[in-house]
Subunit: 258 residues, 4 copies
């Protein structure tokens, strides 16, 4: 576990963001950090991750911890969350992992991945895709929900996509995983909202670009600004308990409008 | 048109809220008023409406106009919006009308209406229900979208319910109208989002109570606080154009969780 | 009421098909006629309708009655069904009406209608579209369901389209009506399936052509054979009560695959 | 591979039914056998399976082959389908596997399984559930689709449930797997229907009983007759190519009517 500190020690609790690359995951982490949460960011590539942790800590003047996790591996998830839970009570879990395009190892859902013809997908690759999209969410949720139930509060947000609600030719592996994640999310909402745990599912429809605020910052005509998307994640977390959202879509200008 | 003023004259434009009773409609009006909009509230009962306008103007220190409208009647909608549009450019339309329970003439969706056995619904009553739920939304949208397209911005929010996404025994008239409204909303999103007009559909699942903040204020265990719901309406309006929500649900503790 | 007879008198009861042009409506009527039902076909143009009745009666060696109805008008529906019900118990109602493309006055859903820009739709035209798509279904169902409940059996099939499940730019009036019909259908299923009445909703996705069997018969690459579609209507009606279908899609090769 | 023969040798090709217990799987196998297909039935328990094969062969006067498969295991699927494909071209694949209730090892979806509280599900058990519900379908489809594409025809039917379209408290593992299967099914439909392969998804809502026709035969008030359900599987397979169904529900009297 690597720690990047910049700022005060008082914290509103831990926000764990799983599947963090330079776009959506980072923006969500930055938003929760800037709202006073101690943030734990998790993905497979610890090197990139710790760089991001440092940047976020500096920008948001917050504590940010970087932890390696392989979401496809239940044991790796358990070990990573031992680390996360040692930081304090996890108030928020954002599950944002999805197998990234081959040339982009950051575990962050950036752009629609390239199509995989069904007949060319190996069982191993299918299995891994399903594990990262859905099983990892299951494992991570099992780590944090017991504490949330005990405290009678907490938020779990799952990141879906247009492939969560409709199939696409050439995306059978992605749709399998994303549909599964949505089924998980609906079941958990019904099981745990009575216990005070807010479960939400965000449907990101279209590509996410670089943050407008960043140095490289340019959000092409077709891409969502990740900081804008993160505002909706924050909104969902901040909602009053009497009026919770379970599912909302977020459409970039390049949205499929499924 | 009745006007209640309390506060400054500078305005961010007009927010028109159609179907305003003491709960959701009022809360949405109050929220937009407090954010600097001049608010026009519309429903059938001008007397109750002008009382509400006065209250909201006082609380939010804003200009609030009350206009009578019968949403089932295209001509009445056109005339009412002549009044609304004379106030300035309509930046936001919230369509919140739904035929209220018989004992509650305020045109605001408060609580699940009582069931109507299908065979007992008269053609006239069915027709009126469909007109208020869906045709009125169509008429109102036609009044404000041309200006929004011209300015390349604007927000239209339609209020749906669990009856928008699934049928219920004893609610055939309600489901007809609410499904229709959702179809309208999806079509308008695809037709006008490219022109810069944000079209959104909120699915209110469960009953809405009195605002917690009000004198009578008590939100029973099962009811949503209308001010909390209004926060999500505001959030949708305030979203960055690169990351718009088209549909979100809002679940009160008594949600059916359809 | 016009009657075309060709064949025996023994009948399994009445099948009423509302919204009958040369394609889907005719094919459904032909199928039920050939299975031993006395068929009543209804649409606005009695001249075309009686020609069709004659053709169907001859082909299927059955009794076929033609009755004029304007589905948008509750009184017209009531009067037409007085005629239908005088023929015997209505065992099947197929509601197939939809406002046809302007150049095709037969009341049968043939091809995707041309787009109507939202801002160009007059209130009257919108109102009529909604009335034909949804209110007419409501009125017709009210005429036949009481008898079905009394006998503890009967089938009501509503014809939807891809516009029943998703909005399309330029089809706001169609989607409004078709969504409404689906809401009606789901509500009626929940209200009346316990009473033994089978309510089903067919989602026709794509265009329907001429029957392959007909003289003009050619089903282009992209069009469904209406006789093939009618087989699925028949299948739904013939299902065992313990295993009823409420909704199925039927996709022509030109399907949008929504 | 065990073979039970009773009747003629001429066959319309192979129908492979995966996940066969005494109810739905058997009924589907029986139906396709009686329509002239050589049937291969597959599940984990070869002993029970070969008994069923014998019964079905006798009843339907057909060739029925029993093959052991563990759907969770890609290699086991590949080996089993080497056997299946050696019998001839697979015209139909019905994927019906779902992890059965603990006391019922037959791999056939019979009754709603008992709830599993989310926090009590072990990673291994979750993984297995997802593998049987979704990955097995993926593996099996990969075995038969290449031949179907080559011949330009074939049918693949996946068996879903109400847990395919909505989450339920206590069924997070089931919903994960069943949602995934539906995503797979929609993707494959879009990818392979243009190539002439019919992909369909059946939503079985409610419990399936013993066949009415059987010795033990009694379909309680709440259960679907599996032979009736199998009629709809057959109907889907028999549909004309211009009018294919991708998804239909089948509701037993105990349906949740989701």
């Amino acid at each position: 576990m690597l720690r990047s500190v910049s700022g005060s020690n008082s914290s509103r609790g831990i926000a764990a963001v799983v599947g963090v690359g330079p776009r959506l995951g980072s923006a969500v982490a930055r938003k929760f950090a800037s709202e006073g949460y101690t943030v734990a960011i998790l993905s497979r590539d610890l090197e990139k991750l710790s760089q991001l942790a440092e940047e976020i800590a500096k920008e948001a003047k917050a504590q940010v911890f970087a932890l390696r996790v392989d979401c496809a591996d239940a044991r790796s998830v358990r070990e990573a969350f031992e680390g996360v839970l040692s930081l304090g009570p996890v108030e928020v879990l954002v599950y944002n992992a999805g197998e990234p395009p081959a040339d982009d190892g950051d575990g962050d859902a950036i752009a629609p991945p390239r199509p995989n013809p069904f007949l060319a997908i190996s069982p191993d690759s299918f299995h891994r895709s399903l594990a990262v999209s859905a099983a990892g969410a299951f494992y991570c949720a099992q780590q944090v929900i017991p504490g949330m139930v005990e405290r009678g509060r907490g938020t779990v947000i799952f990141t879906g996509s247009s492939a969560s609600v409709t199939g696409f030719a050439g995306y059978s592996d992605l749709s399998c995983g994303k549909f599964a994640l949505r089924g998980l999310s609906q079941s958990l909402a019904k099981e745990f909202q009575p216990a005070g745990v807010h479960i939400a599912h965000m449907i990101i429809d279209g590509a996410i670009g670089e943050p407008r605020s960043s140095a490289r910052g340019r959000c092409g005509g077709g891409e969502a600004d990740p900081d804008a998307v993160a505002q909706s994640y924050w909104h969902v977390h901040a909602q009053d308990k009497s009026a919770w959202t379970h599912e909302m879509d977020i459409r970039s200008p390049s949205s499929t409008m499924y």
